[in-house]
Symmetry: D2
Subunit: 407 residues, 4 copies
């Protein structure tokens, strides 16, 4: 009996060409596995295609809700944004996919897992670190990094497929390099490779319209959260995945969450991409809006650092690590009272706050108001400033006393 | 001869009422000092008003360029934003004012400095820590925190003035509590004291229009920086203060930089305010856009932490401290190669990137492109991932080996 | 019926004098509460003394085990050391005492809690923040900060007591100002107030001997931990408080854990103290020794930052805050596999490692050895270094290319 | 004419065997370069040995003072200690060596630089990142990572040398793997590869004696610093390298600075080593002792983080990076007033503080003393605590008010 390999399969040209290549190169039985994170791809006919291309079996695994609950929600709660701009759409999905691939590999008794990520990107790292952490004994195959993978263009891949009896209607023209899931879509390549050029948004956008093309009428939205977890949109309770779908619809319509960045990849170079994250952008800002009321200053400051750190860890593919778990434990602890309602207005790329309430609000109007309330005695500020400023005063006195020493 | 006090004077009701109060309470000669940070107030007739109100002398000191060069530029370079939202408009101005007050106090041989900030806010701290640090021997008087300051309304102040022969046309109606300078205007009070309410932007905005009222046509802007210092707008070289003026005009027109936040004051309570920072918002984003090209990942990550720390330090009024100096030294060191041109589009509240160039760009299209270039050998990724993921693999193997121990 | 106050009572002169003062000043019934954190004070006769001094009731509350389990263990696990030197002995005890005082106050229906800490130290803050957090409605009385507390010397206190019919044999000579509990003893005052002077250790030490006076023979000790909690010393399982007692004995004998520092108080000034923490120093180092084997680099680095932050939070009296809870949640998450045995040698102030083992050790000799093992392929380092160093190379190439621009 | 390679040459077996190997493999002229960082090796006869072994030329470059001034002093000022234990002895030397190798390579017009570090350690990274940063166009050769380097034992190297006519008296027995320079000596290998074993200190120690063998008499030492730079020992002004030599003598005699750690290498595995850093340990503690007096709390806290970060950066070989420069700029800014004298006692492994003075001391005994001084008003603490604890109180009141909501 042949050994088995599990292949992360999308149905596209790249991963289809890998099927015969794996059989030829390793003499493996190829088990394809298509993990659905909400990429909205055509899954009909995928089974036929995989088998026609030489696969022994195809698994189609829907992990959308797991993706939302176990990966997205913790990152939203943490405010995890890589380099303060990238909302980690691809980064959060990869470990979930790796976990599923390992699960299938164990079930099938496979000896290897294969993915189609290139040797320049971050995804190879995220897949492989996930697999290492969950199944250190399983071999990883990354064809694009191998010398015996001789296909360096779509044409070459098509020809290779044909030579192996696979004749499928793949196009040869390359567009942007994209990755899509429920949370976002990323775009790289073409004009984006030159940072001096403006993105061709008309050509590029998939989930959203540009602010210029968004409606002239603003739209109010309300959302509720319980312990940092989104619960409803516009009064309607939904599971998280449906909330994101609804926010994608609203955000996409109003041109929300389109960003254009030069980011630093794990493998050491800068790359330029455009991300559309319509619903995710709204969700993170709404959560942040609520935290303004519910978290105290010291917690919020530390949590921002923790969130930045988590973003780096997730970006680097280190999901299944003790550090990610510990960072998440910190964040979860802060969410106990992040419960309440936020209201905002969507208008041509803007999310404009329109009021926030929480039963656990730490805002006290009687304290904040400039009219002295009975909770606040202005004289306390005297003592506070004296001691808060004591180190500055001691230093200034020292400097006055030692002026001559400096000469 | 009487002892002298230097009073931070604006010409408004609050600081005007302080003049007779200081004379009555302390028997001081009152030297008024109006420090101009670009607040665009009416300064004509201020001298007459001060003297009519009993002041011995009035200084009008224009520190706008110093404010820009010594306070704003370092904060822009640092990306210093308090609680990731507030661009520190008031916080950066206070130490500059304190420094000028001390300078006048020294020149006049004054024994005290008086300011009109209330006992609930941050400004009292910023003024007083500035004074402590520069002149620890000078007494600070904060009338609003004193028991013998009996005026708790505008009416009471007007009456007190009249009783002391000062009859000036101050209105009794209170509006938002505002602070304005070249960089921004802040608004507190009225409906803003209830975070569940949407701000009344039509009533509130001073420097800008709301996105809804901004032009339907986007406008492209180019800016250049040299070593992190802004040098030109739309091809025209200007000093920093003029750049900010021009960006204020552009940003105000296009509804840029209006934020609505619940922030945490130094004195321990939350307050809610709306800030307009049209030019400042553009300037910080433009600088950030350029740094994406010119800074490496490790420097950028650390710099973000440093910038957050600087924001806290500045917000807390600790400008004249060794920590602020050291943070600034870090930041300056990173700006050596932050030189280049950024282009962006302003449209109804959005700043949309439209291309960035720098002679010191660290972006390499031959590295970033998915087509293998001669600078990048895909095989290197094998070794990289093996070692980068080694700790995960070692741990996973340990866990496999010790599975039984856990039971 | 009179209102009640709960007084944190030690039986010493200061808190004894407070009893009549509270009755005279507020007409309260005084409920004394002596909270035992292991201070090894004479508790016999305390009840008589309190009542003789006018107290209505005395509670003696032993919280030693709670102090160990709920306060010390989390700080040990975190490696929380203030300013990298002070092991937080007093800081960790104060919140536990505050909690107990609040509990008694609730039980008794008291309206106020009184403590005898001075106005210059940290302890007033720790007591009062603890009480604020647990019982914001209860009034706090700090006699030493009040104008109507007219006693500024031990003599004055003794005289005041006598005037109120309390004649007890208190001495008038002042020694070091000390705070002792199971974890440590602190010393301040006398020659220590001049940082240029060497401490008079012969006079000062209570729990330990100086290294010079420690035995000439080293002593080996073994300890075990389970999930970061100490479990045994020299093969004998004990509860944490007994482990600390045994380590105090061992550490004290061998001159371990005596530190002399100038620290920065919360109230803004520097103070100089000597701390003896014989058992605590051993415990923290032993835990750290084990973590070297059991934690990966990334987790350890972040945990050090978290531990430093926790130390600041605890030092500042902010135990009952969401930030402390979140920091602790982080730490707990990292302790899952901190299980194993450490061995070390105590010798005249030194803790010398003598071997560490753990079933969850991440150390792999086959990886670490310079002889190539089959787990490690030297070629991987090529790829790793190429990508790890890519940002440096890209920058160097950019600088070479732009050399002329700089001129 | 042949192309040239510069070889980092020590005169030992490893780097001697590389000479014929480079000639055979690449047909290069081999320029040897021995960079002296204070390793106290026998340099007499090195020229003859290099040439006898086939080298075209030998450079002996003494960089000891540069090593002290440009690498050690900044790290001492920063308090840079990797994983809070390792004083970076090897890490700080490598970039200085790399810089010198590049300098010689440029002078000689060499096309490559070769080093003898193995593929498992950190040094390969430090050498190569240094070279990449300074000369990205120069090729790096690391024989130990190459397939055509077939020598996997000392015997094999000796045999290879003999085959190429090099007959030198190298021993075949392997001892600890060591690296020595002015700052430290490191030991790895033999029994150290098993963390459960106690190091064989009698066999191992080179620069120092163990505490047990140190003198029974303590020895007092005084040191002075100016702006954070060490200036004198026991009243005698010396250049930094001589200060380190003298402290090495003193520290070695008294058993100071011997550490035994399991550290995390850059390449992802843990390794165990013993380091002797007698003088360095004293120098860092003395500097720290002075900073306790001269730095304020906020600066010191941030500086600790910066120092930890610098330690990581230096450990990882990233000396020639903008981040290291910026971190160093921060640190330098803090050293302005780190001037004064420290006194301490060395005794059997202990450095015991014995008094510190500074003209810029921020310690004020009148502030710190428990007797109220005129600089401190106890009442200020009331106001301070009220506002410092305000967030806790507001939260507690909110929780009381919302108790029912939680049910």
């Amino acid at each position: 009996m042949k050994e088995k390999v599990v292949l992360a399969y999308s149905g596209g040209l790249d991963t289809t060409a890998i099927i015969p290549w794996l059989k030829e190169t390793y003499n493996y039985d190829v088990i394809c596995c298509c993990v659905d994170c909400g990429q909205e791809e055509e899954l009909d006919g995928l089974d036929e295609r995989a088998k026609y291309s030489g696969a022994t079996k195809l698994y189609i695994e829907d992990i959308v809700d797991e993706f939302c609950d176990d990966y997205i929600v913790p990152c939203v709660q943490a405010g995890a944004v890589y380099e303060h701009k990238y909302l980690l759409g691809t980064s959060m999905a990869r470990p979930g996919i790796a976990k599923k691939l390992v699960e299938i590999a164990r079930k099938e008794g496979a000896v290897a897992i294969c993915h189609g990520a290139t040797g320049k990107g971050n995804d190879q790292i995220r897949f492989e670190l996930g697999i290492k952490a969950l199944a250190p004994d399983i071999k990883v195959i990354a064809p694009w990094r191998q010398d015996n993978w001789n296909m360096d263009s779509r044409e070459a891949e098509i020809e290779y497929c044909k030579k192996h009896g696979i004749d499928l209607p793949f196009g040869t023209d390359s567009s942007y390099s994209r990755d899509r899931n429920l949370w976002h879509i990323s775009h790289e390549g073409l004009e984006l490779e030159d940072p001096s050029l403006e993105p061709n948004y008309d050509h590029l956008l998939v989930l959203s319209v540009s602010p210029e093309k968004a409606p002239d009428e603003p739209e109010y939205v309300t959302m509720t959260f319980e312990k940092g977890v989104p619960k409803s949109v516009n009064g309607k309770e939904m599971k998280v995945s449906d909330i994101i779908r609804e926010l994608n619809r609203l955000g996409g319509k109003h041109g929300i969450g389109i960003i254009d960045i030069v980011e630093n990849r794990v493998v050491g170079m800068k790359s330029r991409g455009v991300y559309e994250t319509p619903g995710g952008t709204i969700l993170m800002e709404a959560h942040d809006q609520l935290e303004e009321l519910c978290l105290d200053r010291a917690t919020m400051e530390m949590k921002k650092e923790i969130g930045n750190k988590l973003a780096q860890v997730v970006y680097e593919g280190k999901w299944f690590t003790p550090l990610r778990e510990a960072l998440q434990a910190f964040v979860e602890s802060t969410q106990e009272y992040v419960t309440g309602e936020v209201k905002f207005k969507l208008y041509k790329g803007n999310i404009i706050k329109a009021g926030t309430t929480s039963p656990y609000s730490l805002y006290s109007d009687s304290l904040a108001s400039f009219t002295t309330g009975d909770q606040y005695d202005h004289h306390d500020a005297d003592g506070f400033i004296t001691l808060f400023g004591l180190p500055l005063k001691v230093r200034a006195m020292m400097l006055q006393n030692t002026k001559d020493l400096k000469k």
